[in-house]
Structure formats: C-alpha cells, structure tokens
Symmetry: C3
C-alpha cells in the first residue's frame, strides 16, 4: 500500500451514497450494498495508513466501553486494537465488578458509562431473542439521553456478536474474500458451503453462520447451507438470506449433507453450532437459573451431536470442492481433530494448509471495527480520512 493507493480508496468512498452517520451497524442486512462497500473501503484505508506509518488517530481523548457478556480473546483484542488506533481508551464494563446485579436498569447503565464515551462494543450472544434486543435497548437509551441533553453525543454501538448476527466477523471474512479474489465483484457466481461441523463442545451461537449467509447473499454467491436435521438457524434469517441471494443474482439452498455442499464449492466454512431447539430451550432455563435443567440439556445435546461426528472437513471432502482447492475459512478457534480435541470440525492437515489464510482473515477484524466506528461518528468519512492522510502524523518515532 502507498499514499496514492489510499487516496484512490478515499476517492471511491466519496462516490458512495451512504447514510451511516449516527446509525449503529447491528445487522449487515440493515445496510445497503453501498454502505457495506463503504465499510470495506474505510477498513482498507485505515489498514493502508497504518502500513505506511501514518496515524489515523481520530481522537485525542475519549472512552470506548467493551461489554462482553460472553468470553472472547480475538474479538476483545480486535476491539481494543481498533479503539487504540483511533485514539480511544477502552474501559471494560465487567458486570461481575459492577453494581448491575443490584437493580440497575439497562437505560441507566447505558447513560452512566457514556458521559465521555465515543463507542460501546457489546457481545451478547448466549440467549436467543436477547442479544440483539439488548443492543437496541442500549441504543434507544442513548438516543433518549442525547435528545434530553443528558449526553453530549451519541456513542456508536458496535455489535461484537449478538444472537442474530456477528457483523465484525462476517465483514472481516468478506474483506478477506475480496482481497483473496481481487474484488467483491469476483464473488458473483462463486459457490460457498456454509456447513455445520462436529465439535465436542456445546451450545455455540448461531450468529456466525447467520452472519455468513446474510452477507454472502448480498454478492450474488451460490450458497449451500448444510447441516444435520434439527440444526436449523433462525428461520427469518434464512428466508431473508434466500430473498437477498435471489435479488443479488445468486441462490441459497439448504441441504442435509456436507458432501453435497462441498461438491464444486469455491469456498467452504465448516463450523459448529448448537441445534435450534436447544438454543430455544436454553433461554427459559438460563433465565430461571435452572442449572440442573441446563446440565440435562447439555448432556442430551452432546449425545445428539455425537451422531454427526462424520461432519468433519476432511481431506476427502476437500477433494469434492472445485479443483480440490476450495478456500477454507473459519472464525477461529477451530476444533481441530487430534490437535485441540479427538474429533472436531476439521482435519489437522486441512487446517494446517489454510492456517495462514485464517490468520489473515482474522487480521481484518480490527480495521472493520475501526471502520464501523469512524463511519458512525463522522458526517463525511471521505473528508475525515483525507484529513488524517494529509495530516500525515507519524505513528512511530523509532529510527
């Protein structure tokens, strides 16, 4: 990347008609095609600036709040890196440490953490019907607080994974694909197999496969969604994705065979998730704090999972893909057979061959997050980027 290339990206960005200022990026399908493209462009521009040593620090001070209601290593670091890059200082809202258990409402906490805050990253993916709802509740509370003069400005909410979508992951995945194939337009007509895979662990959220089909269907891809009977995704998301696929000139087909999905695929994304009915049953049990019931559910779920140990991304299956050379993708960490577990989502030799690809894929996430924040907080993102580039502030003083 050089300065000229970054200027060209900013030029492309200027041509996009977008309305992202002040609007949270919660679900990719709430964004227009041009808005998705704008996000990729800003991410590329920020990555380019860091490569050439120009600091894209947007703020001299400001807080970013991270609220992880589920564990995370890579997303936590991606969010911290993105915020630091823009000049924000991350403060964790650790609900264990806080008084949230003692009667604070969502609305109140949202305000109390936001007096000098520019962005709030939220991961809340454990309860079906809850995570996205919680993010919108926080957003509505912030809107009210700005309107009534309680807050000086509206922090951006970054969806770091909800029960419905995982847009920072899916957008990073597709920026990877765009670079891998030399442009988003190259995705048209490519076949992607978004397939369930066996994992010895339990209860993984549905948001990754939902995010992938929700985004793949925007770019004219031929999508095979594959899973064993009972491992459905949220029906509305699948229906919407099918509609989107058609509209963009592609297709979405649900199959119950990993082989069928892999057949002739350009891209495979084998990834475990929990059965839909288990996800539904978990919600009332979790709310009720019924530990015994949850244990029971887990046991029966794992027993059911075990019937599908052959849903593994093996070398044999990879041979079914286009030229035997489909691009393997994963949000990481993958359950790798004989490495992280006895039987998992992917054979060790397959993962090994694509390891660096998956790492590169992950490497886009900090820039996607930074792009989402910049686009929500800036009225004129192209002008903002042009200003940062022209400023030319050197990130490092090392010789």
């Amino acid at each position: 990347m050089d300065k000229k290339k970054i200027k060209a990206i900013i030029g492309q960005l200027k041509a996009k008609r977008i309305g992202m200022h002040g609007v949270d990026f919660l679900l990719s399908w709430e964004k227009t095609r041009e808005e998705l493209e704008a996000t990729f462009l800003v991410a590329d521009a920020l990555k380019g600036m860091r490569e050439i040593g120009v600091s894209p620090k947007l703020w001299k001070s400001g807080i970013a709040v991270s609220n992880f209601r589920d564990n995370s290593t890579r997303t936590r670091f991606s969010f911290a890196s993105a915020c630091d890059l823009l000049g924000l200082y991350v403060q964790d809202l650790d609900e264990g440490k806080s008084q949230i258990a003692h009667g604070e409402t969502v609305r109140e906490t949202a305000c109390m953490i936001s007096f000098l805050t520019e962005a709030i990253g939220i991961r809340d993916d454990m309860y079906l019907g809850e995570g996205d709802k919680y993010q919108r509740e926080v957003g509505a509370a912030l809107d009210d607080a700005v309107k009534s003069g309680v807050l000086p400005s509206r922090p951006a909410i970054v969806n770091l994974q909800s029960d419905i979508d995982h847009p920072t992951q899916a957008m990073a995945d597709f920026l990877h694909l765009a670079h891998y194939y030399g442009g988003l337009d190259k995705l048209r007509g490519k076949k992607i197999a978004m397939s369930w895979a066996y994992s010895p662990s339990y209860g993984k959220p549905l948001s990754v496969p939902q995010g992938i089909i929700g985004l793949a269907s925007r770019f004219g891809m031929e999508i095979d969604l594959a899973y064993p009977e009972g491992y459905d995704l949220i029906p509305e998301v699948v229906q919407l994705s099918a509609k989107q696929a058609k509209a963009s000139g592609g297709s979405l087909r649900t199959v119950h065979s990993m082989d069928e999905a892999f057949e002739g695929a350009d891209i495979v994304y084998p990834k475990s998730w929990a059965p839909y009915d288990v996800m539904q049953k978990r919600v009332p049990l979790l709310h009720a704090g019924d530990q015994a019931g949850l244990k029971e559910l887990e046991k029966s779920c794992l027993a059911n999972n075990a019937k599908f140990k052959d849903w593994e991304c093996t070398e044999e299956r990879m041979k079914l893909t286009k030229g035997g050379k489909a691009l393997y993708m994963h949000c990481l960490p993958a359950d790798i057979t004989d490495v992280s577990c006895k039987a998992g989502e992917v054979a060790a030799s397959v993962f090994d061959r694509y390891r660096n690809d998956t790492y590169r894929e992950a490497g886009y996430k900090p820039y996607i997050i930074a792009a989402m924040i910049l686009l929500e907080k800036s009225r004129d993102p192209a002008a903002t980027l042009a200003k940062l580039l022209a400023r030319g502030s050197q990130r490092s003083a090392t010789r």
Copy 2:
C-alpha cells in the same frame, strides 16, 4: 458554552485564594469556601472545553491508579473518563490479582504503584474508621517517598468514597444544584431534606448523607436530616455540619420523620444507609472474618429495616414539598419500588419524572474528578487552563 464563557470562568478562578496544590481532597470540610468554588470553576471550564471540542489533555503520558475496595460502575467510569480526558492511563490495582494479601504493607504498595503515577483514586467505604485512615496512610507514605527521593513527584489521591465522605459525589451533586438554580449563591436559604429511605439491601455506607450535609452546610442552606431512630450518622460529622450551617447562615436539624423533612423542602435526597450500630459492629466481624456473625448481623439489620418500609419518597410525600415541586436527587442507583425491587427508596413515577435530572447530576462527576486532579497537580490552575484553551488542540479530527 463558548470560548468567551470559558475565559470568564478562568478569570473568576484567578481571583480565588486557594492552597490546593499538593493537597489531597479527602473531606470537603477540609477545604475553604473559595477552594470549593475553585473546584466547581475548574470542572465547568473542563466541561466547557470538551463541549467546544478543545482537548484539555494535561499529560502526554502518565499512570492513574484506581483502587476499588468496594464495587462501582459509575464512579469507576467517571474516574476513567476524567483521567483519560487529562491524558492519564488507568491501571487497576486489583487486590485480588496482586500480592497484597501476601504481606505487602500499605507503604510499600503505595510506592510500588507510583513511580510514574499522577493520580490514585481510592474507594474504601466498607469499614467505619478505616477508609479515610487508609487514604491518609497512602498519602503519608507518598509524602515520605517524595521527601526521600524515591518518587519523582507526589501523585494526587482522589477520594472515590471513604467511610466519612464521598466528595466526588457531593461536589457533583452541588455543581448540579448550582447550575439548576443559576449559581451557588442561590442555595442560601433553600431547604434540603437529606432523608433516610427504605431499601431491601443492607449495609450501605454512610458517606453519601454525610457528604451532603457536610457540603450543604457550607452554603447557608436549611438542612433537615431525617432518619428512623438508630440510623444515626457519625456524630462528629453531624456536629461539624451543624456548626458549619450556622456559620454560613443556615441551619441543620435532625428529625425522625420523613414528612417533617419534606415539608416545604426545595430539594429532597431520599437515600438508604445502614444503622450506625450495625456499621460499628461490622468492623470487628469483618476484621475477624466472622462470616456467621456477619450473616446474623445482616439478618437482624434487614428485619429492623423492614419496620421502616414507609420511608419511601412517594407522590404523596412530594406534595408536602415546596409547591409540590422539590428537586429530587440521588447518587444512583436508586432502589425504585416495583422496578428494581418490591419496595424501595422512591416511587417509580417520582423517579421517572426526575430521571434526567439525576442523570445530569451524575454527569458532572467526571469533571469534578478531573478538576480535583488538576487543582492538586498544578501550581497555577488558572494559568494551566488558560494555556490549554489557548493551545486549542482539537479533541476530534472527525469531519
């Protein structure tokens, strides 16, 4: 707020005779009236600068330590926001993570965390007779370390709540009042009801009501301190406040009826706290680690509390206040009847009506904290602020 207004504030600050450099703000009654006013002025100036987009970053690097010996959400974020605004990076001294349990003395820890540190925020409000003492021990250790050349400079200690006072809260509360009424002088003659209120929780510190009467008594207010028999505050604080009230042209009266306190009040502050004798009994039990004794004490305390469920800030009681329109205040989170608990400190409809006021009240805290740090670390605060304003460094580069 505009630049001219901020300059006027700085002008007012210049006229104050203060001796706050190098002196911790531990108890509001250790500060002169002019010093309190200076704190409000600096807070307003910093808030103004942020509003007009000028960064008041005082430091390019430097550590701020937060030491929370009791839970906190809002004060934690206020401290983090204040420090970030001034350019300090907050590092938590989490005594769970550290080796403090393994024989480190207060003196040693104070030095070890301070080699490049500008401010240390401490919340220690659980033990009567301990929190303020601990803050002074830390301060004395730092003084020694500076004198002996171990430390290059003396970090400011910020009292984020002790057993005696909660000055960042009380000062934020009164800055809110000053803005609400159009000036500190407008508080003269106003009646404030600092009243105990029922809460289903147990053992809340006495520092908020003590902080409020300790500060209200500086401004010529008519204070009614109301609580059920047995819920006394630290006697010395009440006596001192009474003396201060008289000296400032106001009064302090203790009553055992919420109605009496609300009668004709301009301001009401209904807030739960633990009975004084329970706070006293807790100390030896906590020191001894007598869990059974503490459980027993809690049970008897809650049973006693339950006798006073009618100490609630209801619509009926609000009608007793001046014109039925007293300003409701709370340090948050409030125990709201039928919202956060079955029976609490305040009726939902009352809280709802004043919600935004309580949020605005809370919004002053980051600036009060930042003001306390600036005043302790700067020899000439007016000159420092004037320099920051003249520098005109833009906090945000967004377009």
Copy 3:
C-alpha cells in the same frame, strides 16, 4: 539530570556495538556486555527525559499485551508504566477471561493478539522447564507470522519472569548498583552474597537468584551463592555463571552457610526460594492437576523449610559484612520478621534501614522495561533517543 547529561548518555550509546533490534531479551547471558550496557544507558536516558519533562513517547498508538501466568503487583505496574511512557496501551491477556482453555494453541493466540501490537510482556515462572520454553514458542510463532505476512511487524517479547531468569528485575537491581557505586566498573571485585533466606511461604521461583548470579558474574564480582543443602538452583545456570565469573575476572563459590556468605560482603541479597527437587516434583503434579499431591508436597516442603528458620538477615549477620555496612537488596516484597510474618527473610530493623534503597532499586524497573522495548524495536536506538530529545515534546502542560 539535565539535557547535556542525556546527550552524553546518547553519545555513549552510539559507541556500543549491539545487535538487539528484533531480538528478545529473554536471558541476560544471551546478551553481550555491550548490550547490557546499552540497556542501562537507554534506561538512564529515558529516566532523564522524564525527569526534565520531555516525553519519550515512541508511538501515537499501539497495543502492549501483558500475560501474567503468575500474580504480580510491582511488575504489572512497571510494565504498564513503561508501555504508557512509550505510548502503548496495555491490554491484559487474562487466560481466565479468554478462550485459551478451549483449545487455542500458543501459536494461534500469539497471532490473534498481535495484529497491532508492539510488545508482549510474559510472566511464566511456575513450572520448571516451561516458562522460558513458552516465551520462545510465542516468539517463534510471531517470527513465522511475520515471515508469512500475517503480521505487519514483530512484537517485542519482554520476559517479565520465567523459570530461568528474571531479567527486568536483575537489570533494575544492577542499574541500582551502578548508580549506588558510581558506575558498573566499580562492581569489579565487590563481594555479593546471594543467599537463600527462610520464608513461611512456599514454592517461590528460582529465577531471582539465578538472574542475580547470571548478571553479577558479568561484572567481575566475587559471588557467594549460599543455601541450605537441597535448595540448589538449576545446575546449568550455576555452571554458566561460574564460567562467566571467571571470564570477567571474578569468582562464584557455593556455600551452605549464610554467615560464610555474609563475611566481608559488600552487598547482600537474602531471598527465599523453593528447594530444587520440590520445583521438579511440582511440574508433573501441576500438569496432572493432582491437588492432593501438591498439598502433600507443600506440607513436606514447609516442614523442611522450618529447619532453616535461622537463615535470616539479622543485625548480627549484617555485622559480619564489610564494615557492617553491606548494601541490602531485595526484589520485594520481603518477608519481614514480625511485620509481614512471625519469622522471615529479614529482621525489621535491617529492612527499615534499607527500605528506601530497595524502593529506589524497584524504581528502575519501568525504565529497564521501556529500554528493552525500545532497543528491540529501533534499528538505531541512539538516533531514536536523539530524535525524541530534540523533539522536546513536553510531557506535562501543568503550570
């Protein structure tokens, strides 16, 4: 310190032939004498800049990761302070919070936390044969990731204590000695007693005494390593240190008497550590998660320790040292008899007399850490420092 003095230090640095760029500082004996001296010079220059108020901020953004696999207060704060001084934002890799337990390999985690990262500090001192190995595994993974284009640059690994060495501690200790005696060259011929001492606690790592003899043996010192039978250090480290001592014109002698070691010593470093065979037995028990076995081992170890309660740095023993005035050193926290425990490593009166010396000793650690990072990340450290000094950016705007 003044600007002229700092320029002189930079001049001395320029004359050193070093190859530290891109090379981790894991064990002091992997560095040449000139490289050790360069580290001291950079630490002094950075300390000097901070003293005269010039910010040595190297980066405008960038992440530093802290990975503490064992508890820490002072090293945690030293690392945070060092990173903040250079402009890096510290993000904790808390393996409790992360998904590391769920099958992530070292390699993958190393990459995932490093996309925008400049430095990774690791403390891993609990398992003999594991800590140093782990740090090298992380390093190798990062090297691979840079080579394959996954990472834009190689983060520096800072050894915040391994099973073998504790170089940030030992280097801080020796910078303290250099200033105490007026130059590293003054250490030649000085006698240092690195002695085991009794502590009521169990299982302390061997890395401090190993680090001390590994470094003292570089400067022509007469080293007495003293411990009760069975409390050996890693044999290879002792052999190497003996060889180094001879090469530098000094000596290393192992004795089993504290008195013998103290006899005529210029410097004493009385410090507890675990018996070597206990450290060896712990590893398989820890790996196996054999809690009962560990408890049993601890009991027998403490019983064995108790036989050596007389290994204490008393006033009587101090009289054996040169002129009765040896310099007492400790990495802190010390087990002080009648202060932090009934019987410990050092008498209270001895510790009291040297308290400020030990605090000053600790005060060098942040600068040693910052120096290590600067030397690893800069191709021309002297030019980098000269640039930072010439830039003259004021750290504080206070008046």
